[in-house]
């Protein structure tokens, strides 16, 4: 008989990741993208994990090992931008307010380190509480699709 909550086994699933091979994650860490990653509309279930502490993360599709992306948390990384997250976007992912939303942007790991960049125009919004996320498209001229990460620390956003 289960005596305490601590005795309850946590549901975990195994996700085969491109970067680390199969990893065990708590089932409640799976994110469902209610607004898909553009170009990958058929993949709904993802996990976000880290290989090192810091602002860089990995987005991995649960159902397709090849669908793996590097993400950066732009505010955590010190990228100085304003992103207009609407109440409708927050509502779509089950977040009560913008401060309950984790913001990530997709990183392109170019072979030329000077071209490694992130897309500030289409961030991925995630609510850890609801397990829902979406990629939004922000039509803001201050948010480039190609923000060079070599410019981090120089202040402001510079289009690549």
């Amino acid at each position: 008989m289960i005596a305490t909550l601590e005795d309850c086994p946590v549901d975990t699933i195994t996700v085969d990741t491109m970067i680390k091979g199969p990893i065990e994650v708590p089932a409640d860490k799976v994110i469902t993208l209610v607004g898909p990653l553009l170009g990958f509309e058929h993949l709904k279930r993802w996990i976000i994990y880290q290989t090192d502490a810091g602002p860089l993360y990995w987005l991995q599709a649960v159902e397709d090992r090849r669908a793996a992306f590097c993400l950066i948390a732009p505010f955590q990384a010190g990228i100085k931008v304003d992103m207009d997250i609407t109440p409708a976007d927050a509502h779509d992912i089950g977040a009560a307010s913008a401060d309950q939303i984790d913001v990530y942007t997709v990183v392109v790991l170019d072979n030329d380190p000077g071209q490694i960049r992130t897309n500030l125009a289409a961030p991925i919004l995630v609510s850890a509480r609801s397990g829902l996320g979406k990629q939004v498209v922000l039509e803001d001229p201050r948010l480039p699709i190609r923000f060079l990460l070599k410019d981090l620390g120089k202040g402001g956003a510079k289009a690549g």
């Binding site: 491109m18 970067i19 170009g39 990958f40 860089l56 897309n119 990629q135 699709i145």
Partner: protein, 76 residues
């Protein structure tokens, strides 16, 4: 794709609340469209979505990704 012919000033209604009106046809072939839609409906130029889709596809990580990532991590 549904193809309809409209003249300047004429509209099409899409779904429950979206109206697209042809406002003006310029001499250069550029067409000005007026779009009435609920505030929660996002409207984008197609080429912007195509750019983002292309950038997402370019961003697909490869097994070498961890090594490339090391180049942008700040020195310890």
């Amino acid at each position: 794709m549904l193809v309809l012919a409209r003249k300047v000033g004429e509209s099409v209604v899409i779904g429950d609340g979206i109206t697209v009106t042809v406002l003006e046809v310029g001499r250069s072939g550029q067409i000005r469209l007026g779009i009435d839609a609920p505030k929660t409906t996002r409207i984008y130029r197609r080429e912007l979505l195509d750019q983002i889709q292309a950038e997402n596809r370019t961003a697909l990580a490869s097994p070498e990704a961890l090594a490339l990532l090391a180049r942008i991590l700040p020195p310890a």
